[in-house]
Amino acid sequence: MFDLILNPFITILALFYSVFSQNIVLSIAVFTILVRLATSPLLLQQHRSTAKMQELQPKMKKLQEKYKNDREKLAQAQMEMYREAGVNPLGGCLPLLVQLPVFLAMYQTIIHALANTPYQLIDLSGRILFPGFDHIVPMQNTWAGMNLTLPPTVNPTYALILPVLVMVTQWVSYKVTVPEIPPNEDGTPNQMAQTTKTMSNVMMVMFGFFSLSFSVGISIYFVVSNITGMVQYTLLGKADWGKLVGKSKVKPVSTSVGFKPIDGNKISSSSTVKPASAKLGSPTEARPNPLSGAISKTEKRKNNKMRARSQTN
C-alpha cells in the first residue's frame, strides 16, 4: 500500500539524479522543493484554519464561562459557533496529518534510493517504475565525506552541524510563519500563545532529535523544506520576519469578544490576527500580495457573511 507513494517518489528522485548530473544533494533539494510546492495548498489551508480558530478564541472563552457546568451544551454551542463561522475545528490538523505520509515517503525514498547495502539495493530493484535509469544505480550515497543513509552520529563529527541547522531553520520557520497571538483583554498572556510557543520549542527539539537519529539525507530534506517554507510564506506576504528581532509587523492587540469585521486581504496576506483598532488601509495592514489574490477574494466573501451575521446578532 505504502509502495503506491514510495515507488513514484523513488522514480522521481532517480529522474532528478539523472538530470542533475548525478548530484544527489541537489536532487534531494529540488525534490524537496517540489514536494513542498505540491503540498502548499494544504499548508495554506492549515494556516487559514489556524488563523480563524484564533479569531474565535474570545467567543470560545465566553462560551466556556457560560457553560462551564454543562459540557454537553458547551460542545453544542461550540459546534454551532464553528458552523456559523464556517470553520472546521480539525481544519488545522488534517492537512498536517495528510502531510505525514508525504514526509514518511520522502524519508523512505532517501533510505531506499540511496541503498547502502546489498539488501537495500535489491529491494530498490523493483521500485523504479520506468526503465532508463539502470546506469545511475546505485545512486551516490556519500556527500562531503558523509554517508547520507547513516545518522550524523556515525558520520564525521562535522555532520552534527546538520541537526543544528535543522533546529535553527525549524525555529526560525515557526517564528516567522505562525500567526502572532494577542494577549488576553486583561493583559495576561494568552494560554494559546503559550501553547504555541511550547509547540514551537517541542517541534524544534523533536526535529533535532529526528535529525540525530535518522539519516543525514533526511536532515537535508528538513533544512531545505524549512527554508522553502519560509520563502513561500515570504512570497505570499505571510512571513513576519520582524518577529525574529522582536519587531512584529503588526503589534498584537487584544481582540474583543464576538465576531470582528475582518478584512479578507488582511487574513490572506498576513499571518497575524487583525487588530481591532486597525482600519482598512491603515499603515499596520500588510501589503496586498498578487499571489494571494484568489484566496483573498474567497476569504473576503466568507468574512462578509460573518460580518453580516455578527451585525444581525
Binding site: 475545528p89 530493484s125 539502470d134 544505480v137 509547540m199
Partner: protein, 424 residues
C-alpha cells in the same frame, strides 16, 4: 473535538509526532544487510549469516557438535551438547563473508579460520574448538577477542591465495593483506564499492565495482593491468571460462586456487545492472553483449560452452559462449526475480527465486520440469554437496534469510531431504 484547547492541541501534536516516529521506524527502513554465504568444509556446510557462523552436517542437516580429542561429544555443565558455532555477540559482529580457511600445519592438517566481519574486523578462529582465539592460540570465550581492523564494510566473500587475503570493500577499494601478519600489502582504489568476491586467475585478480568498471590487477603488486567500462553497476562476481569441461563440484567455487587455467582461451562473463551479460577478453576488450530483461545480479555459470544465468525479472537464459553470447533459450519463470547463481547438474538447470520458488529446468530447452516452494525469501547462492559413500546422491542446499528456516536441502532430483534448524 475541540482542538482549541491547549491540551488537545499538544496531544494532537504528540500523536502526529508519534505517528511520524513510529511510521518512520516501522515501515521497513532498517532493511537487512546482506544474505548468507555457504561453503563446504570437510563435508559439512559452513554457514555465515548475520550474528553467527555455524557448521551443519550436510548429511543430516543437524548442527555439528564439538568433540574432544577422543571423539566424544563435548557437553556444557547441564549436559547439553555444545554446537559448533561462532557467535558475534561478544564482538558485536555481523558476518556475511565466509571465513578463509588456512591450513597451519601441512602434516597434521590443522586449520584455522580468518573471520572477517561486516565492519572490517578480522578475527582468528579456532576451527577445532569453535572459538575465537588469541595470538597465542588460546580460546576467547566471554571477552572480545583480539582483532585487526580495516576501514570499510565487507559484503562479499574474501578470497585468498598462498600469500594474501583480498578484501572487497563495500564503500570503495580492494585491499590486499599479508596472510600471516594481516598488514596491508597494497590497496587498489576504486571509485565505488566492490560488492562481489574478486576472482583470482593466474597471477592477476579481477573484480568489478558498482561504478561500472571491471579491473584486472596484478595480484602481487596491486598494479592495474587494464580496466573496462561495462556500462552498468556490477554486484555479482565475474566468472572465468576457458573451455575446460566442468568435472566436479570444485567448479562451483568462485575462486578456485588449485586449478590450472588455459589462459589463452579464457574469457570473463559478467552480469550488470545495465541489463546485460558482457563477455570480456583476457586483455580487457568487450567481445560480446547480451541484453536481458532486468538487472543481472546472478553470477553466470558456464558449462560445456553454454552460459546459464538469470535476472531480477525472473527470466533464465542459456547463451552460447562460442557464438557471441547468442541466445539458445530463455525461460520466464513467472517469479519475482532471481538473485542466486544457477546450478547446473546432470540434465537440469536449478534456480531459486527471491520468493523461494525452486525450479528445475531442462538444460536443453529451458522447460520447467519440477517446481518446489520453500516460501522464504532466498537471495544466497545455492551450494552443491557432492555424493559421499554413505549418501550416493548429491544435495542442493538453499539458504533463506529466515534464521528459523535457514537451510533447505534437496536431492538433485528435487526431493526435500532436510531443513535446518530441524522443525521441533
Amino acid at each position: 473535538m475541540n482542538t482549541s484547547k491547549p491540551s488537545a492541541r499538544l496531544s494532537l501534536l504528540f500523536l502526529a509526532l508519534l505517528i511520524l516516529f513510529v511510521g518512520a521506524g516501522c515501515v521497513p527502513t532498517r532493511l537487512g544487510t546482506a544474505w548468507a554465504s555457504l561453503r563446504l568444509v570437510d563435508n559439512n556446510i559452513l554457514v555465515t549469516y548475520n550474528d553467527r557462523i555455524l557448521l551443519v552436517d550436510s548429511g543430516t542437516g543437524r548442527p555439528v557438535q564439538l568433540t574432544d580429542s577422543d571423539g566424544r561429544v563435548r557437553t556444557s555443565q547441564d549436559g547439553t551438547p555444545i554446537r559448533w558455532q561462532l557467535l558475534g555477540q561478544a564482538t558485536q559482529s555481523q558476518f556475511f563473508a565466509s571465513p578463509v580457511i588456512v591450513t597451519t600445519d601441512d602434516t597434521t592438517g590443522d586449520k584455522v579460520a580468518l573471520v572477517v566481519d561486516f565492519n572490517g574486523k578480522i578475527f582468528n578462529a579456532n576451527l577445532t574448538q569453535a572459538c575465537f582465539s588469541t595470538v597465542s592460540g588460546s580460546c576467547v570465550v566471554n571477552n572480545e577477542p583480539p582483532f585487526v581492523s580495516i576501514t570499510g564494510n565487507i559484503y562479499a566473500d574474501v578470497v585468498a591465495d598462498e600469500n594474501r587475503l583480498y578484501l572487497p570493500l563495500g564503500q570503495h577499494d580492494v585491499l590486499a593483506l599479508d596472510k600471516g601478519s594481516l598488514t596491508e600489502d597494497w590497496r587498489f582504489i576504486t571509485e565505488r564499492g566492490v560488492w562481489s568476491a574478486p576472482l583470482l586467475v593466474g597471477e592477476a585478480i579481477y573484480f568489478a565495482e558498482m561504478g561500472h568498471e571491471f579491473y584486472a590487477v596484478n595480484a602481487e603488486t596491486g598494479n592495474k593491468l587494464w580496466q573496462v567500462d561495462l556500462g552498468g553497476a556490477v554486484a555479482a562476481s565475474p566468472v572465468f571460462y576457458d573451455g575446460t569441461p566442468a568435472t566436479n563440484y570444485a567448479d562451483d567455487a568462485l575462486t578456485p586456487t588449485d586449478v590450472t587455467y588455459n589462459l589463452a582461451d579464457g574469457r570473463f562473463y559478467i552480469g550488470t545492472f545495465a541489463r546485460t551479460i558482457v563477455q570480456v577478453s583476457m586483455d580487457g576488450a568487450i567481445e560480446a553483449v547480451f541484453n536481458t530483461n532486468d538487472w543481472v545480479w546472478s553470477s553466470p555459470k558456464v558449462v560445456d560452452g553454454v552460459l546459464y544465468t538469470a535476472d531480477l525479472s525472473g527470466t533464465v537464459y542459456a547463451l552460447d559462449v562460442n557464438n557471441n553470447l547468442s541466445l539458445i533459450w530463455k525461460q520466464d519463470t513467472q517469479t519475482n526475480g532471481i538473485r542466486s547463481r544457477p546450478l547446473v547438474l546432470q540434465d537440469s538447470v536449478i534456480v531459486v527465486s527471491q520468493n523461494g520458488v525452486v525450479l528445475w529446468l531442462n538444460r536443453n530447452d529451458g522447460s520447467i520440469t519440477l517446481r518446489q516452494e520453500i516460501n522464504e525469501e532466498t537471495l544466497s547462492d545455492m551450494l552443491y554437496v557432492p555424493p559421499t559413500e554413505s549418501r550416493p546422491e548429491g544435495l542442493v542446499v538453499i539458504s533463506t534469510i529466515n534464521p528459523n528456516r535457514l537451510l533447505f536441502a534437496f536431492t538433485v532430483a528435487g526431493q526435500q531431504v532436510w531443513l535446518y534448524p530441524p522443525a521441533s
